[in-house]
Amino acid sequence: MSVVRLHGSHGYDVAALRAQFPVLDQQVNGKPLAYLDNGASTQRPLSVIDAVTHYETHLHANVHRGVHTLSQLATDAFEGARERARRFLNAASTREIIFTRGTTEAINLVAQSWGGANVRAGDEIIVTAVEHHANLVPWQMLAAATGARLRVAPIDETGQLRLGALPSLLNDRTRIVAVTHVSNALGSVLPVAQVIEAAHARGVPVLVDGAQAVAHLPVDVRQLGADFYCFSGHKMYGPTGIGVLYGREALLESMPPWMGGGDMIRTVSYESSTWNDLPYKFEAGTPNISGAIGLAAAMDFLETLGIEKAAAHEHQLLTAATAALMRIPGVHVHGTAEEKSGILSFTLQGVHPHDVGTILDHEGVAIRAGHHCAMPLMDLLGLPATARASFACYNTLAEVQQLEAAVRRAVEVFR
């Protein structure tokens, strides 16, 4: 297929970048695919696919059981991925990098292990109004199990956290603040550094859900001061089924194990067990070895690309798409925070988001339509659902034009 695509500015060679993502070069419903559902999952570059294939082809054995050579090679690759993740986040130590299935598992781990040990009846847990179900439901479950109270930090009309409301929510009973870095439904980049500062001033630890952030803005957990930081591989050009929980070593050290099993123990008798050191204490069972290796390759990809350069490109796409859609009568954009990542949530008057999604798909444009796993936020906004276009490093201005044309087609169908 030869399609002329517009290049981004500042020498950002989007055509060369797209060549690394073969999945993008296809027709959907007879139209060139415009993949704008990156908030749900990004595609993988060849380097990630190759790293996983190389491991599966030449290196696979179980890890941490290194009597034989292949097991040692697999262990080296797996632990190399952990060191890669440490550098990616600028964590102090690989003991602070726990591999999980993804963000959801990472948050559940903290809610159950740290929460179970530290949260009591009458205590309070603070979340924000824009949280994804993954950073809400585990805390609801913890609150229900302990008798703690969940408090919700409000947002303003742009979809940004009302930072000023936070001090009045923080009190002597607050045990933890759980906050998203970037809203998956509205795109707002939350002021997590200030949230952490305010919480720390009262001795309260903070968990940051970085699922929508790590591929789109540089994250330095030490500079940020985050106590826990979680993300998924598949939203940052890596594989599914792998993610990272970063935790400050002192906190992880103080926490009881979460799942029991192999790898997480030091000694086991029929009566009792002792626990392995960090990070293995939290990694029961054979891990997703190829996933971790693919994730490390995705981090290499992002570093080579330059997250800031990608973010500038994505911002250009967001600005162009926002302007293009707002030119269409009946389009309403939800989420107008000053600082936004490449997520554009919108509704079209008289056309349900699912119909928008179907019509866009017919035009080759893949978006998400629904509640974005943020049902309380949708209720707050008084919307049953929105349509969401979300951008990644490989999207183009031509795809923005394709999006605009497809939304105009939806208007036409429903005229």
Binding site: V351, H352, H354, D355, A369, G370, P384, V413, F414
Partner: protein, 146 residues
């Protein structure tokens, strides 16, 4: 596969101007339908005379397919017996899911035949029928397509 196969004129019309929209009060039965994946929600209220469905209304919000399907269903089932409604639901279900299913005698409901080319949307069209089944089977209830 054309968009106009899915969004036929009659579907767009029933979406824009739903028939039998609202609530029946008093009513003999009420059921709520919810498709958690899409957020489509509808509430059916109905009146019965023995086995016969004498009147029904629906309210709620959802995509054009779910709203139009509910609107057309209310027209199609009003005055029918439980047995006739069951038979009609089977015909509609086949229309939505089975390639080559006939639409003769289905009247306006035949307009839903395009839905089967869009598998993600089948649940939108069938939500109202499942909700009606629930209302007929018992009293107040909630059904979910998930």
């Amino acid at each position: 596969m054309q968009l106009t196969d899915l969004y036929r004129e009659v579907i767009l019309d029933h979406n824009k101007h739903p028939r039998n929209f609202g609530r029946l009060d008093p009513h003999d039965a009420e059921a709520r339908g919810h498709n958690p994946l899409c957020g489509d929600r509808l509430t059916l209220t109905l009146l019965r005379d023995g086995e016969r469905l004498t009147d029904l209304k629906f309210e709620g919000n959802g995509c054009a397919i779910s709203m139009a399907s509910a609107s057309m269903m209310t027209e199609a089932v009003k005055g029918k017996s439980r047995g006739e409604i069951d038979a009609l639901f089977q015909r509609v279900h086949a229309l939505l899911t089975e390639p080559g299913a006939g639409s003769a005698d289905l009247g306006k409901l035949a307009a839903l035949s395009g839905v089967r080319e869009f598998p993600a949307r089948v649940k939108c069209a069938s939500l109202c029928w499942h909700t009606l089944n629930a209302a007929l089977a018992s009293g107040d209830t909630t059904v979910s397509t998930e």
